[in-house]
Subunit: 191 residues, 2 copies
DNA sequence: CATATATTTCAGTTTGTTCAGAAATTAATG
DNA sequence: CATTAATTTCTGAACAAACTGAAATATATG
């Protein structure tokens, strides 16, 4: 019950520029649209614009959320594999930072989302399409499910090719996209 | 208060095969992972495996959800542009059906999601990156935001190319992906 | 090993979402 | 234009998720 307890509350508040604030708030709002909770997204944004790694207390003070909330949120970001811990000599606290490479980050998140949001459906569809006699007894449903499965498999295969490319390669593909597109389009119409 | 009121409750229940049931239930569960509510996803699944268009009452009875819930959910599906109304001579009820072409459905949904989940961020980033003096006063943040923006723009441009392709063209790209990928990879390392 | 510091877990509260049923609205029919 | 059928909107209850503050646990240091 000493007066020092209060002094600790805002021991390491970070000063954010207006630009940084707007980015963090926006990223937090978009989080909900992406299925990520606001605090998690805000912390991620903060780490993205922060030059140096931050400890949990700094994050707490800067974003004005509960310490426990920061703990849980960081855990989730680590679960996604986009936030890492750093330690400093003479400091026992955990310092967090996020990867610099946006393409790398995208790849990691895309892989996780595919695993959670696509793979289970692909598995079930495979099973259902192979249901004995389905093709005969209910050809319509069989056809519909099979179309869906084929589509998912095609997209998956295609994603796996793209996933391996370097950022530079992706950028080049985007630039050459128009040509490529028409190339493939022609190739198929010929058939 | 006549006895006819009760008879109406289950007037047009649809008979679903076990396969159809499993698909509908699974699609409903996955819905939450995709940010779509369960009933909306279930109705969508039901329409996908239903050969004929269904009216609201049939959907209500088959899925055992409230009539009002069906109304709201169908509205949302129409909002996504993947469910349409059909009318029949001598029947004033609305009949609903979903498009057959999976690739077409994907395109529509992808476009909507891009619009909701990507475009606002791209807009903000463009604005922030152009903040006067940011490059000088806070080069680190500027760099980070700019990287993000560039990435989003690249992916967007690339998506726009792909979006125009036919299903067949996509499938071909997936098959040729490996070759293409290494082609681009080589091209960039040379630079 | 006692103390200080850092982190995680937990219970309770707040906030947001889903859903069924009632009420209101819209459209059709004689 | 009154009646019936079809559909949408509104409302409150049940449920689920996010968040906080406090307590419990873990870790370092003299």
């Amino acid at each position: 019950m000493t007066e020092t307890t209060d002094a600790k509350v805002l021991s390491h508040p970070l000063t954010l520029t207006p630009t940084q604030k707007r980015f963090i708030l926006h990223w937090g709002e978009m989080g909900s649209k992406w299925g990520v909770n606001r605090t998690v997204a805000q912390i991620h944004a903060l780490l993205m614009v922060s030059k140096d790694p931050l400890n949990a207390e700094q994050i707490t003070d800067t974003l004005a959320v509960a310490r426990s909330n920061v703990s849980t949120s960081i855990r989730e970001l680590q679960g996604w594999g986009i936030v890492e811990v750093i330690h400093r000599l003479g400091d026992r606290r955990d310092y967090f930072h996020t990867m610099q490479d946006v393409w790398q980050m995208f790849r990691i998140v895309a892989a996780k989302r595919k695993q959670r949001e696509i793979d289970p459906t692909a598995d079930l569809l495979r099973e259902l399409v192979e249901t004995p006699d389905l093709k005969e007894t209910d050809p319509y449903t069989h056809q519909r499910l099979n179309n869906l499965l084929t589509f998912i498999q095609t997209m998956t295969r295609w994603y796996q090719q793209v996933e391996r490319l370097s950022p530079k390669a992706i950028s080049n593909m985007a630039k050459l996209g128009a040509k490529l597109g028409s190339m493939f389009e022609r190739r198929t119409t010929k058939r």
